[in-house]
Amino acid sequence: MPAEDMGKLAYRTRLLFAVSSVVFLAVLAISPFKDFRREWKQYKRSYLRFAQTRADTKKLLADYRPDIDQIWLPAMNVVDRCTTCHQGITQASLADKSVPQPFRAHPPIPHHVRDWGCTVCHRGQGPATEVAEAHESTLAWEQPILPAVFIQASCGTCHYNNLPQTPQLQRGRELLARLNCQGCHRLPGIERPAMLGPDLTNIGAKVSRAWIYKWLKEPRTILDKDGNVTVNGYETEPRMPKFRLSDPELLGLSAYLSVQTVRVLAPYKIDTRVVAAWSKNPELISQGELRFRQMFCSTCHSLAVTRAGETKLIGGDIGPELSKVGSKVNPDWLIAWLRDPQGYLPHTRMPRYGWSDEDLYKVTQYVTTKLTDSDLLASVPPLGPPTEQEIQVGRRLFLEKGCASCHSMEGLNPQKDFGPDLSAIGRKNASELEFGSANIPHNLVSYIQAKLQDPTSVNPAARMPQYNWNQSDLNAVTTALLSTKGAPATSALQNLVVPQKEAEFHPTGPFAEVYNRYKCYSCHKFNGYGGDLAPDLSYEGSRAQRQWLVDFLKNPQTLRPTLTFRMPQFNMSDKDAATLADYMTMVLQYPSANPAALDAKQFTPAMAALGKQLYEVKYQCQSCHTIGGTGGYVGPNLNNAGKWLTPAWIEAWLRDPQLLIPDTIEPRRNFTEDEVHALTAYLVTLRQDIKQQKTAAISGSRIASHEAGQ
């Protein structure tokens, strides 16, 4: 090779080296620059600058370090670097809304962030050091931050019991149970009751085939005279969802159900003298309506009422809405049902009233004449008698559609676990879910909400029926489902679980028989077991005097004038009332409020006078309680406090109301012992009976005159 060429090559090589050195230098220089520009370092520096602008800089920077901060809790599997950027999280002075994120302090909660980490509640990726990786779902990370509106789900993953701070979670859990989700799905903590939907073994004796057809197609929708929907059927009876049935399916199911008459209905013959006396009476229907109201059927059942052009349901939702029940049920069945509901459905929540033939006749005549709609079945095609083939189709569909999961039917065994197991739905990754062709974000929250709103949106072949949700209920149920994350992965985590408190109440003896007959637990709670429409009666024996209980049971009077739902008028016999009152006074006691321990005789008129003074002037209790005709109606009316409440209960209550009833709204005051005695002395002097309400024993003519007198 000539020297000239060699020189050229050397020059080129040198140039090559020079250029590549420059490139490498440039790359090397970029690396520290990139490191300097990393997201979390920028947040570190901006926190430094932010702290300088605050008055308490020194405190804010006391434990500042320029590197990554990490909460490491090996037992809980927590490696959370969130505090690298969320640096002010424990600084009380940064609590204000005006403090920019990510520096704002965590609001006060019962758990400390250093002990629990962040992702235990908020989800997201703890070890990530980039904003997007930590908060959002990326290709490599499927559990994004839990949107704040569902945060109560995280409380529910450990607290199986309901907490006062988590009303949304509690509502969601209640809805899951109320809508009978446990009929098809396995749900932790929700027991499958003895009966979900009504037992259909004898349904043919109750309703016609045409009604079944209509019900399955369009449950209980109320139209106005122009045919517009005024009350949506799925809202009035959310427990029965819509099953998207085709016409042949409707024909089959209605045929199958209409022939279910296993037990022959023995019609009850109302005394002919009663019928003769009332059937021609023009007041029959209005008297029936009056009894219907007086018995407070509306505490559990609602009726559609149109006022000022707006149709509204008035009444409770424990039992079905009854606006059109007269066009639904067989009149003979109605009489048999009212006389003994538990004879038709052993697990019904409907109490057994003590009916006189007269009342029974009036009320059933009212129901079958007034609560009707002649157009109810107008849209149903002529069905004719069910054919054997239709019945066979219906029987197959009854099992295939999942009807049998909620409705028991003698001789049919439902498929176990008809729907997917939901006991760990809250921790599912997006990749485990089928989104079908649904155009929604691929994450768990969107999936749950889409599935609840329209099951076919994510799976066209879904068997799940259609429910009707408002936004807050949808969010509540989503919260409850997100909280079910299954058993914790490690034993250390299992120790964190706060188990559900067992609610047990198994009375025995004569009380149990009366208690079951009147279904007290449909509305009242006893030791944590029962409904929550009416007061908790766990300590009723400490609270109320025996004679008052007897009088109240025989003729319930509302103590709170603003309540729309009232205790039904059961026409209770003296014996039943005495049995219930005796049991309550003996057994349902609060340990530290023993009525026998305090004798009302110790109260002097002087004490009562001081108590009146305290009540009216110093503490102004009349802002919430009524005595005489004046006062507020937040708390109960105290006109009859002396006959109603035991002095021991009044004193214990005045000292600490929340001790006796944890969620009562009466604030705990700072009374001295003398004031407690004086107030009690005053209250026991109040012995004014509420004006006597008409009782069932009073005959119809007397009611009429009474009403006229008013």
């Binding site: 790359v27 005006s98 609001p107 704040a148 802002s623 006062g631 005051r669």
Partner: protein, 163 residues
């Protein structure tokens, strides 16, 4: 000529190195209303939803449990007790009245009751029924729903205010 190619190549490598790690994988955004812990419809305009922070949402819960009976015109159980009281208690969203009161004053009147501050004894003390944090959260809720909206005063707390 070759030099230019090298220069271009090195530039490309540099650019690649800078941009290569910048790219984030595609992310999914959630509904913005989900980022509020709760919402409260403006009492004067139900269409207007006010997003609430965690603390305000706790205040809302306590308000609808404890305070709504006298400090609102409609309650979950029907009619309000407000009309039974003299003097008539302010509505909780009454910014014209409550915005002028400091957080400390509000904290005191809820904790100690009206009588202790020379106001109506019909306002009972809640200091033994609610914790300090709970009362704070009720005040935070009051501020959140105030109409006209609440503007925190720039004045520093006085030496008499409780800490």
């Amino acid at each position: 000529m070759k030099l230019r190619i090298w220069m271009n190549a090195s530039l490309l490598i540099t650019l690649g190195a800078v941009t290569g790690c910048r790219g984030h994988s595609e992310t999914v955004k959630v509904d913005p209303l989900f980022s509020a812990y709760d919402t409260e419809a403006d009492w004067n305009d139900v269409q207007h939803l006010i997003p609430l922070t965690y603390q305000e949402s706790q205040g809302k819960r306590l308000f609808y449990q404890q305070c709504v009976w006298c400090h609102a015109d409609a309650t979950p159980a029907g009619p309000s007790n407000r009309s039974n009281l003299t003097p008539v208690p302010p509505l909780l969203n009454d910014g014209a009245t409550l915005n002028a009161e400091s957080d400390d004053y509000m904290q005191n009147i809820v904790t100690l009751g009206g009588a202790a501050l020379g106001k109506s004894a019909m306002m009972p003390p809640y200091g033994r029924a609610l914790s300090t944090d709970e009362i704070h959260s009720v005040i935070a809720f009051t501020r959140a729903i105030a109409q006209p909206p609440y503007q925190p005063s720039p004045r520093t707390p006085s030496q008499y205010s409780t800490k």
